[in-house]
């Protein structure tokens, strides 16, 4: 008994942490008008059952409010950012909603705040719907992806999430706000017509030969029989008991320096960044060794997904 009461109290306190707002919809106002009309009719005709019906429907409205509130409380949201994207692509987040109440949830609409500094009086317009969740079972969880169109490079945040619902009768619109910190990196859009620059003088000579060589450490892969034992990454074995071999690569192609100075023909900073981003992609695809030269920032030549990400991240967060 005491434990049941304690659990009851716990739920009550938990639900207070998240404020739920509720307003009648247009249909709700219509319903209220209908009730008023009905009551007037009932009074005018001295119709007792007319009174009864008006009161039943008014009470039904009240019950709807409770159901509407209950549909949104004790929800636990978790947002995980997914991989970085290029500008104009959709930034993706994974949303997991945990239903902590013993009742199914229906028709949840997930929206996010488009502009962080929107006035609170333009509340509804500042949110953009992202996803609809038809139901979440009691004491269960569901997850979905949220995709947000990106328009600017840099960190993209969802700002805050609004979970809203018209359930059960569409008479009330209830919503609750979850502030979010999860953000996805947005690279500058890979766009530009300039050709990849030629390797500068004094750069490395073009090397021929196998792609996997001994020079540069390129990563680990699962050990295959027949590979020399000195290639085994013993430290990694000690960590998780899986045999892996170190892979080394010999760069194929040129070593490039993708430089801001080469873009004097472009005036706009964003266009320059887009061009650089495009070059990074091209260089990576072609297997070049490439470095990046920005005003006040320089990345030494390198190669591989890590390097590419570093370059693109630098471009994404560049402040002119």
């Amino acid at each position: 008994m005491t434990s049941a009461l304690a659990a009851f109290w716990q739920r009550l306190c938990d639900s207070q942490k998240q404020r739920i707002y509720i307003l009648p919809t247009r249909a709700g106002y219509g319903f209220a008008g209908l009730l008023l009309l009905m009551l007037l009719g009932a009074i005018n005709y001295n119709n007792s059952l007319g009174h009864l019906l008006s009161f039943l429907l008014a009470s039904l409205g009240h019950v709807t409010m409770h159901h509407s509130h209950r549909n949104l409380r004790l929800l636990n949201l978790k947002v995980t950012p997914l991989e970085p994207v290029f500008c104009e692509q959709n930034a993706r987040f994974k949303l997991s909603i945990q239903n902590e109440d013993s009742r199914d949830r229906y028709q949840l609409e997930i929206a996010h705040k488009k502009h962080p500094q929107m006035s609170r009086w333009r509340f509804f317009k500042s949110y953009e719907p992202l996803q609809k969740i038809a139901y979440i079972d009691a004491d269960n969880m569901t997850s979905c992806h949220l995709e947000v169109k990106t328009h600017r490079r840099g960190w993209h945040s969802l700002n805050s999430l609004r979970v809203a619902s018209l359930y059960p009768l569409g008479l009330f619109y209830s919503w609750t706000i979850y502030p979010q910190t999860a953000q996805v990196l947005v690279y500058p859009q890979a766009r530009g017509k300039l050709p990849l620059p030629a390797p500068p003088d004094g750069g490395r000579q073009q090397l021929k030969g196998e792609q996997l060589g001994d020079d540069d450490f390129a990563g680990l892969r699962n050990y295959r029989e027949g590979e020399p034992l000195h290639r085994v990454a013993w430290k990694a074995v000690a960590r998780d008991e899986v045999m892996r071999s170190k892979q080394f690569s010999s760069p194929e192609g040129h070593e490039l320096l993708l430089s801001w100075q080469d873009l004097a023909s472009l005036t706009d900073t964003e266009a320059k960044l887009s061009q650089l981003s495009s070059w990074v992609m091209q260089a990576e695809r072609a297997g070049h060794h490439y470095g990046l030269q920005l005003p006040g920032n320089r990345i030494e030549a390198g190669n591989g997904p890590q390097h590419q990400h570093l370059c693109l991240k630098t471009l994404a967060l560049y402040h002119g």
């Binding site: 249909a27 009309l37 005018n44 008014a58 039904l60 229906y106 038809a134 269960n140």
Partner: protein
Amino acid sequence: MAKADTSPDHHAINQLIIALFIGALPHFVYQPFWVGLAFVLMISWRLLHSYRGWPLPAASRWLKVLHNGTAALMIVLIFGQFGLTIGRDAGAALLTIMLAFKVVEIRSLRDYYLSCFLGFFLVITNFFYSQSMLMVVLMMLVVVLLTSCLISVNSESSAMPIKWRLKLSVQMVLQAVPVMLILFVLFPRISGPIWGLPQDAGTATTTTMTEQITLGELPTQTGTTGMSEEIQMGKISQLIQSDEIAFRVEFENDALPPASARYWRGPVLWQTNGTVWSPLPEPERSQAAPQIGVRGEAYQYTMTLEPHNKRWLFALDLPTEKPAVVPAYMTSDAELHSQKRIKNRAQYSLESHTDYQLNPGGDPNLWAALQLPEGKHPRTRQMASEWIQASEGPEQYIDRVLQFFNQQNFVYSLSPPILQGDTVDQFLFETREGFCEHYAASFTILMRAAEIPARIVTGYQGGEVNPVDNVLTVRQRDAHAWGEVWLPERGWVRIDPTSAVSSQRVEEGMSNILPSERTSPRLIARNDALVEVWRDLQNNWNALNTAWDIWIVGYGPQIQKTFLSRLGMDNPDWRKMAVILTLLLALTGIVMLLLSYYRRAHPDPVVRLYSLFCHKLARLGLNKSEHEGPLDFAARAQNHLPQYQQQIESITRLYTQLRYRHASDALLSELELQIKQFQPRK
């Protein structure tokens, strides 16, 4: 708000059509046939669209013209039928028809909401025609269905099967009951109407008592002053055809007067032209209050009077005070007269004495009780003057007259031959077949002809006591008329000449005179045991109806006051009601909120998890029945959902292992994981 206005799907529309059809069903009876016809045609159109793909009005211009044209035609028909004032009938017909036309062209959610709301309005229009329990049951069904329609457009059918929607709407309507009851009891009632009522507003009371008694055929040219055409229905013989309830009486402490004393006093008639009897004009009757002397115990009782649109209030003969709640006064001929017409069911408490003396010291209107129409009833007058001369005083004369009725071949008949010419002479000396009003009228003439002041009292006599709740119900068929004579020292004395002819009528009441077919269905009327069972059923049903009529249907400003006073509220007025109403509503709101945090969960987590599994399958229409074992259920589910065969198999195995063999935390978390990941879709 951020809501795309999409069109509702077929299922939602079909559901709405079913709800509206049930809601409109009673109107097929109340309204002209073409209203029902138009309704059925229009919803069939929509159904044919759903099932056969027939085009909707929006599909082509011609169909649009057809749709709008028919709608316009219907409006014209309604105006043709009901005239230009929109009253109850025209309003209900208009609503029924327009709703059907709207359903055909539902295209957006907005249309759908509008149709649902109009559906709720359709429900209330039914209550303007009937407030019986059956109607309420039917209409509650409609409310539940309409609620489930609203749920349908606010949830997806893949998430919520129709069964769940109905269950939720029943649940919501039931949850709405407590607040409804609080509002019903405590919401301060206003006595309507707020604005003028159209002519057809009244409830279906067709036959009630009128202010006049007419013997024989009414001359067609009698356009008597200030009277409505209802005079023609004023013959008590027509009232006797009606089983409608006139009023109900509840005696305090169940102390009922004996059957022979159950005279319910109504209008008193003085004036006659030989055929028509009517009351005294207003100035004379309100001249002086009657002087009443009483003996013995008083009867205390509460009357619940059905609306009759007249001003008199019935009371047990003789009331000694006027009612407290209904503004009324007592005329000099001891008739209770309300200040306003009784248009709604009225309830009032009274005290009566059956042993009384009325105006023993004289009556200012005695002259009117001696008036006879000029030159009429010669044979009657002649007989009266012979008999009074032969009698020693009025008492002996009265006895002689009663003996005359008793010993001559007078017959009490509900369908007497129609009287023509001199009605009284013809009745007394020729036909000798009649019922109470014939006897009362001819008796009074016989008295007056002998210089004894006499008058007719109309009202009801008898009534049925329901053994279940001891409520005495008086119906229109109990209508009665009797005589009163004024004797020196004794005042007005009631003489019922009908009892001299048929004592059965007075002592056993009307229902025993009526053929048994009137009181029980023809089929069982021959079998006494069945009739007995039928009586019992009827008594219980009547008691229920009485309570329903008085406390639910009749719950208005007056009964609200009575009821709240009984509950202990001291002199309830709207301010007190509003305060208590607000407090109670706030309290209920808090209790409802707190209750919603309470959860009933099975103590065993394994069972909880398994029921979640069953719940997920139920969403797809796979319901596990009580008697079905988990293995059988799993087999059935696998049959339906072959793509989830493996998951169902594994979950069921884990469940049976945990539940029936041994429990371990590792297995439990495995089950939890599997069930949470189990997201079946069709």
